[in-house]
């Protein structure tokens, strides 16, 4: 009888707790109204914080068209990379490969007048829910509580009031209930004009520093009603915006200056310390290489050395060892943080873009990319030693792609292709190159419509018209069969690499493999939504751990 009473008591207590969880009274101390006050206050603090931040903002847009079977496929694309500045409205100074002058616009008056124009600052704007967030402008409705990763969130619908000004956010927000920071908001801005358009977006913030949640990823999708009409079709697109390089230490080395330690000098007069002409030449070339790598890292487009580099290094070492190569100085691998698919060498440093790593289907395909670049090194295609002079780097960040070029001429590329085939033929990858060739076929298949994705910013082109890199692998590969579920020639964008937006560190994604159920899910080279697993920063975790052991 007593145990029955205990069970009934426990049931009552647990049901009361369940009811409390559903109740808009969100915590034991705060009402929903007070919670909204905290959220608004926190968001206003966020706006002040963001004005001090100048991250890089990369936006990639794919315009879509529906075919007769209602499958949406990209028909064109657009790419922007810029540095965000929120001090005077939203400004996004764009990195341009080429500067289009008046003549360019004058010669394209019809396309300029009749086509949609994507505005980089409009995509960057989506980091902000409302630069002047005021409770009185909105109606807030509690929806539920839910976890996004580690963050326990309060979900709230937010709608502008009738008399509120135009351009306010309308949609849903997710607020983590520890500091009441908005970690995700999903919707659009209200009150659009005739000529300009606000898009629907899903904006995510990551906890990058203790109690600071900063914008990191935005997914944009718009699907018009006239999806297949060739003339006057509506906006029908998918896009992603990524932000990184928040850490101001990436941009200046003042911290290093304050941490300089002078080691005691060592008397090594007995050791030969003069450099031969060959060694001096190598050192000179290495200096040019180091200068370029350091500058690219400083402006935030090259990831600092990290875990992903080690994976690339392993593949390169496999190629070097199995081919019995002697390469001096040693070969290094780095990752360019940008999306366009490219790889190139800076002296003996192999650089592969994040976008290219994302879409490569397997290790053999990666080996193909790296073998081509290693081919340049083995053939002695050296770095431009003008880069050894530091005054060559005194230019605005936004003109980096105009000042730095690492592409080589067609003859060198062809020679590197031949060398790469030779290197791969002696490597452990020699029997797995079918997929690498398929990747090239998929790349060529999509190259007419994804012109911006395949346009390199610093290196050479992987596809040029009807020709691709590594033609030998291309021709020997099996036919591309888009409807075959077991033939995955290329992955969607964002399939492999995870980017830490604060310090630009890259790690491999830890997603479980998923069996495809239809060819539509193959989505090669396509933009897809992102559902990140939100975590609290290490500093925040430490704080919580300290708090939990308190009295």
């Amino acid at each position: 009888m007593r145990s029955l009473k205990i069970i009934v008591f426990l049931l009552l207590v647990s049901s009361m707790a369940g009811l409390a969880a559903e109740n808009p009274k969100l915590s034991s101390t705060l009402s929903f109204d007070q919670t909204v006050d905290r959220v608004v206050k926190r968001e206003r603090e966020f706006v002040v914080t963001m004005k001090r931040m100048h991250p890089l903002v990369e936006t990639y847009i794919q315009n879509l068209r529906e075919d007769n079977d209602h499958n949406a496929e990209p028909v064109s694309d657009q790419y922007f990379l810029g540095r965000l500045d929120l001090n005077d409205g939203v400004r996004d100074s764009v990195f341009q490969k080429q500067h289009h002058g008046f003549l360019h616009h004058a010669l394209n008056p019809v396309s300029a007048a009749l086509g949609y124009k994507f505005l980089p600052q409009g995509f960057a704007q989506m980091v902000m829910l409302d630069p002047d967030f005021q409770k009185s402008n909105y109606r807030f409705t509690f929806v539920r509580r839910e976890f996004i990763g580690e963050a326990r969130c309060i979900v709230i619908d937010v709608q502008p009031k009738e008399k509120a000004p135009k351009g306010l956010f309308t949609g849903r927000i997710w607020v983590e209930d520890r500091d009441f920071s908005i970690v995700r908001f999903n919707g659009t801005y209200s009150g659009r004009a005739d000529y300009t358009h606000y898009l629907h977006f899903d904006s995510w913030r990551f906890n990058l520093q203790s109690d600071v949640w900063l914008p990191s990823y935005i997914y944009v999708e718009e699907s018009g009603t006239k999806r297949s009409s060739a003339l006057f079709h509506d906006l029908y697109l998918k896009a992603q915006t990524r932000l990184w390089a928040y850490d101001p230490e990436q941009l200046n080395h003042e911290k290093e200056f304050t941490q300089i330690k002078v080691d005691s000098s060592v008397d090594d007069r007995s050791v030969a310390k003069d450099n031969s002409p060959v060694e001096s030449q190598r050192m000179w070339e290495r200096m040019a290489e180091d200068n370029a790598v350091d500058h690219l890292q400083k402006i935030g487009v090259l990831a600092p050395a990290g875990d992903v580099d080690k994976i690339l290094q392993t593949v390169v070492d496999n190629l070097i060892i199995t081919n019995k190569l002697q390469v001096e100085p040693d070969v290094r691998c780095r990752v360019l943080l940008t999306l366009p698919l490219e790889s190139f060498t800076i002296g003996h440093t192999l650089v592969v873009s994040r976008g290219l790593l994302d879409v490569l289907p397997d290790e053999a395909s990666l080996a193909m990319v790296l073998a081509h670049e290693l081919g340049h090194i083995v053939l002695g295609h050296h770095v431009d030693t003008q880069l050894a002079f530091n005054d060559r780097y005194f230019f605005a960040d936004t003109t980096a792609f105009q000042h730095l070029h690492f592409e080589l001429d067609a003859a060198d590329e062809a020679a590197a292709d031949n060398k790469a085939v030779e290197l791969l033929g002696n490597s452990p990858y020699k029997d797995k190159l079918g997929n690498a060739g398929l990747f090239l076929k998929a790349l060529q298949d999509r190259s007419p419509v994804l012109a911006n994705l395949i346009s390199p910013r610093l290196g050479g082109r992987m596809v040029n018209g009807n020709t691709t890199r590594m033609t030998a692998l291309f021709t020997s590969a099996p036919a591309l069969e888009k409807l075959r579920l077991d033939q995955v020639a290329a992955l969607p964008i964002g399939s492999r690499i995870k980017l830490d937006p604060w310090g630009n560190q890259l790690t491999m994604m830890n997603a479980k493999p998923v069996a495809l159920v239809s060819p539509r899910e193959k989505m090669p080279f396509e933009v897809t939504p992102l559902f990140p697993f939100l975590t609290y920063s290490l500093a925040e975790r430490k704080l919580v751990a300290q708090g939990s052991v308190g009295p």
Partner: protein, 212 residues
């Protein structure tokens, strides 16, 4: 007529000068849009013209107006306007008359509120006038004249749904015709137009659901 022109000029000038600061302020407060793109529409409607026949009074014409419009910026666009107007009898001459015009030019939208916006346009092109001028009680002069023409005016446009709007406008239309001596004379006409606008790309219609 000179005074009327001056008045129209002053109204246009003040509309632009007064509205510009308000627009700038609005732009600072609103979020930056992500996409800018042209908006196309075509319209058809009824038009009425009070045509001044040189030294003979005014004749009323009725007809149809067709126009095509393209938005080239948040506040700017271009329009191509054509109208055909007819009267069975010009003044008391027993002659029918018609006016055919084809004009093009920029459109400016200084103010927009909710689903309604104000437009101002300045158009230029050519007009063919077929008419008659009485010389005496029993005699008249009739003929046609194709001559450069221009128009300036404005009006209101109210969006009814995503693809339909109603436009009400009036403008001063300058054409030319002969006077009773056979000399070419300018005509200062007033034209009123009411038309239905069909949008070829959706203009966002602010529904009551969005306002809640």
């Amino acid at each position: 007529m000179r005074n009327r022109m001056r008045t129209i000029g002053k109204v246009c000038f003040f509309a632009i000068v007064m509205v510009a600061p308000a627009l700038t302020q609005n732009r600072l407060q609103s979020p930056s849009p992500a996409v800018a793109g042209p908006a196309f529409d075509v319209s058809v409607g009824y038009t009425r013209l009070a045509m001044q026949m040189p030294a003979a009074g005014r004749a009323n014409f009725n007809g149809l107006d067709f126009s095509g419009n393209i938005g080239l910026g948040p506040r700017w666009g271009a329009t191509l306007d054509s109208s055909y107007l007819y009267t069975p009898e010009v003044l008391s001459t027993k002659h029918h008359g018609y006016a055919l015009s084809l004009l093009a030019g920029p459109v400016f939208y200084p103010v927009a509120h909710g689903n309604t916006r104000v437009f101002v346009h300045a158009l230029a092109g050519a007009a063919l006038i077929d008419g008659a001028v009485p010389i005496s009680d029993t005699q008249d002069f009739h003929g046609w004249l194709l001559h450069p023409s221009y128009a300036a005016g404005g009006g209101l446009e109210h969006t009814v749904s995503a693809q339909l709007a109603v436009r009400l406008g009036g403008d001063y239309l300058r054409t030319s015709f002969y006077d009773s001596s056979g000399a070419e004379r300018p005509q200062n006409n007033m034209r009123l137009t009411m038309s239905f606008v069909f949008r070829l790309k959706d203009r966002p219609h602010r529904s009551s659901a969005q306002l809640q």
